[in-house]
């Protein structure tokens, strides 16, 4: 029995399978062209791009923590124009479905980056990074205010018809209200979660382990919180959700999908195992077969909530 892993993530974009390489964890995709078949992934979300080149933070940029890692890369990047000129042609050759993650220090910069991508060949969707915890201006500054979220999404919506996917930060009290704000401003989907703002200290030197002092926590350590946040967003909005946070195997991905994610992103796990994609696909296919399901759409949002009876009341 063949199973259908394809998913529609909004804005008319259908992916052959739900597995997307997470932005910031897969370079510009081309680095992996000799390791994996980029065309076999659902999509590739490339490293966040500003209008211009950025050098990022000095080392140390990562530190490992229990079942996770902190990073403060600082969005080192080549800028959107060099990306379009140097990386996009190769990604097209590889048959990759390319989601470009974009950043800005101002709303105008987000719109300008989006405008450039709108005119480029081979961009399937734009992911709006309003959630990077590691930069002073931009990123989470917009994504941690409902007004900022709305304004960035609305401004980019005005300049492009490409599918628009704001990436939400978990560093807020009520993530679902941000999904609502993104939807109202014209988003086609939302992806969540970016990393959790966190810190680690070397007690011998009494110094922070990261040069940026604080960084973003990713990996299995955050997965249960991320699943809860996808669940909350699913209750609040009907637009497609792209879930992520510490997915290490197909079963982890299924938690997000059952909670309501249409697709998932895999980041930290790719560092541990660059060949993970085939295993994820095999695991998901095996699950659908085992449960006698024809397609993944039968699983999305299929969470069975317990009846709310209270025997001890």
């Amino acid at each position: 029995m063949s199973v259908d892993l394809s998913v529609n993530i909004g804005g008319g974009l259908t992916l052959a399978n739900p597995f997307i390489a997470a932005s910031g964890c897969f370079g510009y995709g081309v680095e992996y062209a000799g390791v994996v078949d980029l065309g076999a992934l659902g999509a590739v979300a490339v490293k966040g791009l500003f209008l211009d080149e950025r050098e990022g933070h000095p080392p140390e940029r990562i530190v490992e923590t229990p079942s996770g890692m902190l990073n403060a890369i600082g969005l080192q990047g080549i800028g959107v124009r060099r990306f379009v000129a140097e990386k996009l042609p190769r990604l097209r050759e590889c048959g990759a479905v390319v989601i470009v993650n974009i950043c800005g220090s101002s709303i105008e910069e987000y719109a300008e980056v989006a405008r450039i991508l709108d005119g480029a060949e081979g961009v399937a969707a734009i992911e709006l990074n309003i959630s990077c915890p590691n930069i002073e201006k931009g990123g989470m500054m917009f994504g941690s205010s409902l007004r900022g979220t709305h304004d960035v999404v609305a401004a980019v919506r005005r300049v492009t018809r490409l599918p628009l996917i704001p990436k939400l930060t978990p560093n807020v009290t009520d993530v679902a209200s941000f999904a609502v704000a993104a939807r109202d401003a014209g988003a086609d989907a939302v992806s969540l979660v970016n990393t959790f703002l966190a810190m680690a200290i070397d007690v011998e030197t009494r110094r922070p382990r990261l040069s940026n002092v604080v960084g973003g926590l990713s990996g299995p350590a955050i997965r249960p919180i991320a699943v809860r946040m996808v669940h909350e967003c699913r209750q609040a909005v009907s637009l497609p959700l792209i879930g992520m946070g510490g997915i290490m195997n197909a079963e982890d991905a299924l938690e997000f999908i059952i909670a309501g994610a249409t697709a998932v992103q895999v980041g930290t796990a790719n560092f541990v195992d660059p060949f993970i994609w085939k295993k994820l696909l095999a695991g998901l296919t095996g699950y659908l077969r085992r449960h006698g399901l024809a397609g993944l759409t039968d699983v999305i949002g299929s969470l069975e909530l317990p009846a709310r009876n209270a025997p001890c009341a």
Partner: protein
């Protein structure tokens, strides 16, 4: 193209209370590995530690049938290296490689001087073998804490490598830094003799070697050890500040552009204390 294998531990030779040489059945990696390249290693499948760690390929192992695997020179420091120290034959280690930009081996009449500090010996066994195959006259300057931590000297001698040793406690060779015998040798060598240096060890050592060599008009290739997330260019965590030509320094990834760099291009103040 790198390969990822579940490599079986063939042997674990404990050289001292802190150092061991772990032999892994990873012939597919070993056969492709060039001197100076590295592998990303993870013992066990759990989430702690989560990430792989980078290791230089120490030896390419051979028997009469050909290449059988590779070995790692390991020093017990953190959680992964403690695990690697304790492994017994038969255990499996995930091993991805070979990765990174290798050394460029000298060719006669150029001479090769390798400068190693502590566990920084690791990439030089492979380099020494390549240099011997090319007929290059080579010397190993090797510094350690004490005589008991100067390892595998016979193996280097068998490869025709001259040895110049130094120990922190003076128990063997020069009493002090490895740069002591290196500086003497640099002074003594006729400037007309072509020479290339290679350094691997603590960052301050590699910086000192680069500067010393530069003062004598010599180039040094350094093998830097940065904290790495993936080893494949995906995470941008292993960057080092490199200045090429007259340009401003740029952060480049040591997994792709390194780990071997021209020491003269490294902006040493921008690196950690190593």
């Amino acid at each position: 193209m790198p390969v990822d294998v579940d490599a079986v531990v063939l042997s674990n030779a404990r050289l001292s209370p802190d150092y061991n040489v772990l032999a892994l059945a990873a012939p597919d990696i070993a056969i492709r590995a060039k001197p100076g390249q590295f592998v990303m290693v993870k013992p066990g499948r759990g989430d702690h530690p989560l990430l792989r760690r980078p290791f230089s390929v120490f030896e390419v192992l051979r028997d009469t049938g050909g290449v059988t695997g590779l070995s790692l020179l390991n020093k017990r420091i953190g959680v992964t290296t403690r695990t690697l120290f304790g492994l017994e034959p038969g255990a499996a280690v995930r091993c991805l490689g070979p990765l990174g930009r290798p050394f460029s081996p000298a060719a006669p009449p150029e001479r090769a001087w390798m400068v190693a500090g502590g566990v920084g010996l690791a990439p030089f066994h492979g380099l020494a073998a390549a240099l011997r195959a090319r007929g290059v006259e080579s010397t190993l300057f090797y510094g350690a804490r004490s005589a008991g931590e100067l390892f595998r000297l016979d193996a280097f001698r068998r490869l025709g490598v001259r040895l110049a040793l130094a120990t922190d406690d003076g128990s063997r060779g020069d009493h002090g830094r490895v740069t002591l015998p290196l500086e003497r040798a640099l002074r003594r060598l006729d400037p007309a003799v072509p020479l290339r240096l290679y350094a691997c060890g603590p960052t301050p050592m590699m910086r000192a070697v680069t500067n010393l060599a530069d003062a004598h008009g010599r180039r040094t290739e350094v093998s830097l050890e940065q904290v790495m997330g993936c080893g494949l260019g995906g995470c941008y965590s292993c960057v080092v500040p490199i200045r090429r030509g007259g340009e401003a320094p740029r952060f480049v990834r040591s997994c792709l552009d390194g780990p071997v760099f021209d020491g003269g291009t490294v902006v040493w103040d921008g690196l950690g204390a190593g």
